[in-house]
């Protein structure tokens, strides 16, 4: 296009605008032109998995048409995937060797897991017939376990992305192993506040509140329900109770109540941190344990299946 023509077409046509918009969208979505970004990594890895699954599906379809048994091929694929997925645990335990970064391993783990789910669907005929669990005791429990591990993996992926946000937004960053010590410090501070009360009215009112509610909250451990579903219900009730006390107290007593309320908030933040950090650790333990069980069962299934195939 000459310069004159370019000047004449100062106003872009709709198709050109659309083209530019599409190009920009692809550019942004893929993160192309920028340095290596998480978005770009996601897009590229998802594409690779999609292409790989399409290739496997095509192969399965061809083999099926040729009246070949596809189960062996998909089974070996699944077994390889499982071994690959388990390897991350080994890498995690050997930090001294240059075996690649754990973040690269995690990415490989995530996308291999997604690929394995796709292959599993092709491997288990029952799924193609509308059932999630295969027939038979071994195969049934194996497929149930596979879904359990996959489900926990998906949950873990979401949790490991969402929970850090929630943890960051709760005040101070506390290490999990130090939480019991911090709890103890708070309990000491509360006990000291109560001990230092001088005014008889404050001693009576705050003392009773401490005996009946506060001491239980401060010295006790969070309940299992709280650990599973942390909420601010207890904190709000205790704080409301402390606010309620103000009408029975002198100025100094009110100040003590304010300080106690701050300690209650601190304690609740600690419990919240504890619950979320515990959840992440329990998840890792659960996912790794079930994965090992899955691998063992898959090996048994594989041995049996190969005997059947050979016979």
């Amino acid at each position: 296009m000459s310069l004159v023509e370019r000047r004449q077409t100062g106003v872009l046509s709709t198709s050109q605008k659309l083209k530019a918009l599409v190009a920009t969208s692809i550019h942004r979505l893929s993160g192309a032109g920028r340095a290596y970004s998480f978005r770009r990594r996601r897009v590229v890895a998802s594409l690779v998995v999609a292409v790989a699954l399409a290739a496997v599906a095509g192969l399965v379809s061809i083999m099926h048409s040729a009246l070949l048994h596809t189960g062996v091929m998909t089974g070996w694929m699944l077994m390889s995937c499982l071994v690959m997925l388990i390897m991350i645990g080994i890498r995690r335990r050997i930090p001294v060797l240059p075996l690649g970064t754990m973040s690269s391993w995690t990415q490989v783990h995530i996308y291999t897991g997604v690929f394995a789910i796709g292959v599993f669907i092709m491997h288990v005929p029952a799924i193609l017939h509308g059932r999630m669990i295969a027939n038979g005791y071994l195969e049934g429990s194996l497929s149930a376990l596979f879904w359990l591990v996959s489900g926990s993996g998906v949950y873990g992926l979401i949790a490991s992305r969402r929970l850090p946000w929630r943890l960051t937004n709760v005040g101070e960053q506390v290490r999990m192993d130090q939480i019991p010590w911090y709890r103890q410090q708070i309990a000491h501070a509360v006990a000291e506040e109560i001990h230092n009360l001088q005014n008889p009215a404050a001693i009576a009112v705050i003392g009773e509140f401490h005996r009946r509610y506060l001491s239980q909250y401060i010295t006790g451990k969070p309940s299992l329900f709280y650990l599973l579903m942390p909420s601010s219900v207890r904190r709000r009730r205790v704080l409301a109770g402390l606010v309620e006390l103000n009408r029975y107290l002198e100025e100094e007593g009110c100040r003590v109540c304010g300080r106690l309320a701050a300690l209650v908030r601190k304690r609740d933040d600690l419990d919240y941190q504890y619950a979320l950090q515990l959840r992440l650790r329990v998840w890792v333990m659960f996912h790794s344990t079930t994965s090992i069980v899955l691998l063992v069962m898959a090996i048994i299934h594989g041995v049996l299946a190969m005997r059947f195939v050979e016979s």
């Binding site: 920028r34 978005r39 050997i94 930090p95 001294v96 060797l97 850090p164 960053q173 992440l280």
Partner: protein, 655 residues
């Protein structure tokens, strides 16, 4: 417990305006610390000082140039130390962080012109372990806290008790202080062979060395070994600065720097690398050397970091002020500078500068080329963060000698554009030629199809990126920059940053660190926080490693190849100067034991042997830093904060 009365007594008289300062009723009187309360060498006598004053260069100094509170003889008595070295004894080692300069008084010293192997200099370099070795050590931990092999506790070089400093003209039997006595002395083996091979340069009486490294807070560039009858005066940095009050002495030092070092330093600056030698000589002649702020910035650090950003900026010495005419190109020689701009009623930080960075280039180029039509005043202010040492090249000299040799791609975009299209003065072009030029300019300005739209969108996106983001992924210009400068994290070359929005608090990083250090983690996951970023308390291998100042043995040194700050544990005497000096509290002193768990004790004092420990970036491992490699969620990074682009890129990638 002492009963301290709280609050003012009820009977205090209330005065509307106190006539003069009155001390509060509750006060404790103490002796205000003074300069020279602790002299460098308590054994320097008045006779030593008189002897020094009778010799050059001190005989030529003008004592009236020194303030009454810090007289010349006081400087010599309190900031200097006399040494008599034995032949072959190492005076300064290449790579050691310089803290003092040395003046040869008698005899001679030999400067080794070639680099010596680390083991010859008493350092045991960390060798990379092989895979099997690393795996074997990992699988067989000692199970003992801070276990060390005997060869890691004591040096394997020839060590003697330091020979007594023989004070000239003094018969007093001086005893060394405990610190000095415990300093090991190193003798260079086959020193005579090096001299014979012509691999040394002789330094004779009257010559000063180590002053450049001292003033720049850098490492010594060469090893210097004592020759025959070598008597030297060690002048610590504070004394050196004071001696520079004498114009002749300062001039002599500056001349020495200009003659030997300035051209080398200028040549190291990327912007000046294509400047021909003849031009560089002129630049060297016209360049001015200036210093701002306080050298021992780490002493004030704990106080200044608590100030608000506005207060902190105000407290920093100003180097160049926004709105003033640009007179020099400013090059940072050492230290850090804050670039800030007036905004509303305060100033906001827009960048920070480190060694080798320049200030005022855009304004100078635009003024010289006339790109703006008139001389452009400074668009930003430059302030010294802690300490700043600068080189100033006058505008005329820069325009004449340097600017023609700078690649256009290295100039700021506006300046490059101005160079490319200087404003048209009255030319001799014919009207037809002028019309042709104008047309070409219009053609250049016409955007390609779709370009304008995309460019508009991109520029608006970029502008949007400047806003603080709730996710903290943008490198927002003020908050994060000011946080980094305020906490002096810009000193870090390997700072550890954790993205708290990705960190699941699994502590795999700490566990990996402990695993590769025989069960002793070299950091804990704690540190200051700015929004989603946590700046972990782990050694940052600083650009200006103030921890090295005062290390009496040079155990703390910078690795020349990697730039990492390392500890040679075998020569670390456990004095703790580094741990106290580190402004970030990233060095710990630990008592060491043998692999069986038996603590090492000093044979003389029966006290435990302690060693300084800190993050070593896993330099002995084949895997590199284990902490960063162990993070499964891309949350932890070791990053260079001495410049903003690495952090900016890292944050941008997290979308």
């Amino acid at each position: 417990m002492t009963d301290v009365p709280r609050g003012p007594p009820a009977t205090l008289p209330i005065l509307p305006v106190p006539p003069r300062f009155m001390p509060p009723v509750d006060s404790v009187t103490v002796h205000r610390p003074r300069r020279w309360d602790e002299p460098m060498d308590p054994h320097m006598t008045d006779a030593d000082v008189d002897w020094l004053l009778a010799r050059m260069p001190f005989a030529g100094l003008d004592a009236s140039q020194f303030p009454k509170s810090i007289p010349l003889d006081g400087v010599l008595k309190n900031d200097c130390r006399l040494h008599r070295f034995s032949p072959g004894q190492v005076i300064v080692r290449e790579g050691d962080y310089a803290n003092s300069a040395f003046l040869v008084l008698e005899g001679n010293a030999e400067l080794i012109t070639r680099p010596l192997p680390p083991d010859v200099l008493g350092r045991r370099e960390v060798e990379k372990r092989s895979w099997p070795e690393a795996l074997w050590q990992y699988l067989r931990p000692s199970g003992v806290r801070e276990a060390r092999k005997p060869q890691d506790v004591t040096p394997d070089v020839e060590l003697h008790d330091r020979p007594r400093t023989e004070h000239l003209q003094s018969d007093a039997t001086d005893e060394l202080t405990g610190d000095a006595a415990s300093q090991p002395t190193l003798f260079l083996q086959d020193f005579a062979g090096l001299v014979r091979a012509g691999q040394t340069v002789r330094l004779v009486a009257g010559e000063l060395f180590g002053e450049v490294a001292t003033m720049l807070r850098g490492p010594h560039g060469a090893t210097v070994v004592a020759g025959e009858n070598a008597t030297l005066l060690e002048i610590r940095l504070q004394g050196l600065k004071m001696l520079q009050r004498d114009a002749a002495f300062a001039e002599r030092m500056e001349e020495h720097y200009r003659e030997h070092w300035l051209a080398i330093h200028l040549k190291e600056i990327p912007l000046l690398r294509f400047v021909p030698e003849s031009n560089l000589r002129n630049v060297v002649e016209h360049t001015q050397l200036r210093s701002f702020g306080r050298l021992q910035w780490n002493a004030d650090y704990s106080k200044t970091r608590k100030l608000s950003p506005a207060e902190q900026i105000e407290s920093e010495p100003i180097v160049a002020r926004e709105g003033h005419h640009v007179t020099d190109l400013i090059i940072v020689r050492s230290g850090f500078g804050r670039v800030c701009q007036n905004y509303g009623s305060a100033q906001r930080t827009t960048a920070y500068l480190g060694k080798g960075h320049v200030f005022g280039l855009e304004e100078i180029t635009l003024s010289v080329t006339g790109g703006n039509g008139s001389p452009l005043p400074l668009q930003h202010s430059l302030r010294a963060v802690g300490f700043l040492d600068t080189l100033h090249i006058p505008v005329e000299c820069f325009a004449r000698e340097v600017l023609p040799h700078i690649r256009r791609s290295e100039l700021p975009p506006n300046a490059a554009e101005a160079m490319l299209h200087p404003p048209k003065a009255k030319t001799s072009a014919t009207p037809r030629e002028r019309r042709s030029l104008d047309r070409a300019k219009v053609d250049d300005d016409v955007p390609m199809t779709g370009e304008s739209d995309t460019e508009d969108r991109t520029s608006s996106m970029k502008a949007w990126d400047d806003l603080p983001s709730p996710t903290g992924t943008s490198f927002e210009p003020t908050g994060l920059l000011e946080f980094i400068v305020q906490n002096r994290y810009n000193n870090g070359r390997q700072a550890m940053i954790i993205d708290l929005h990705r960190c699941t608090r699994c502590d795999d990083c700490v566990k990996a660190c402990a695993d590769v250090h025989d069960g002793n983690p070299r950091f804990a996951r704690v540190g200051n926080r700015h929004e989603r970023l946590q700046f972990v308390e782990a050694c940052m291998h600083c650009t200006d490693p103030v921890c090295m100042i005062g290390c009496p043995t040079g155990a703390l040194h910078r690795d020349k190849a990697t730039g990492l700050v390392r500890i040679s544990e075998n020569i670390c005497i456990g004095c703790g100067v580094c741990a106290k000096g580190c402004p970030y509290d990233n060095i710990e002193m630990v008592a060491v034991s043998d692999p069986k768990g038996r603590p090492y004790l000093d044979s003389k004092s029966n006290q435990p042997i302690t060693k300084a420990t800190k993050c070593d970036m896993c330099s002995g491992l084949p895997s590199g830093p284990a902490c960063a490699a162990a993070c499964p969620h891309d949350a932890l990074v070791r990053i260079d904060l001495s410049e903003s682009p690495p952090l900016e890129d890292w944050l941008r990638r997290r979308t």
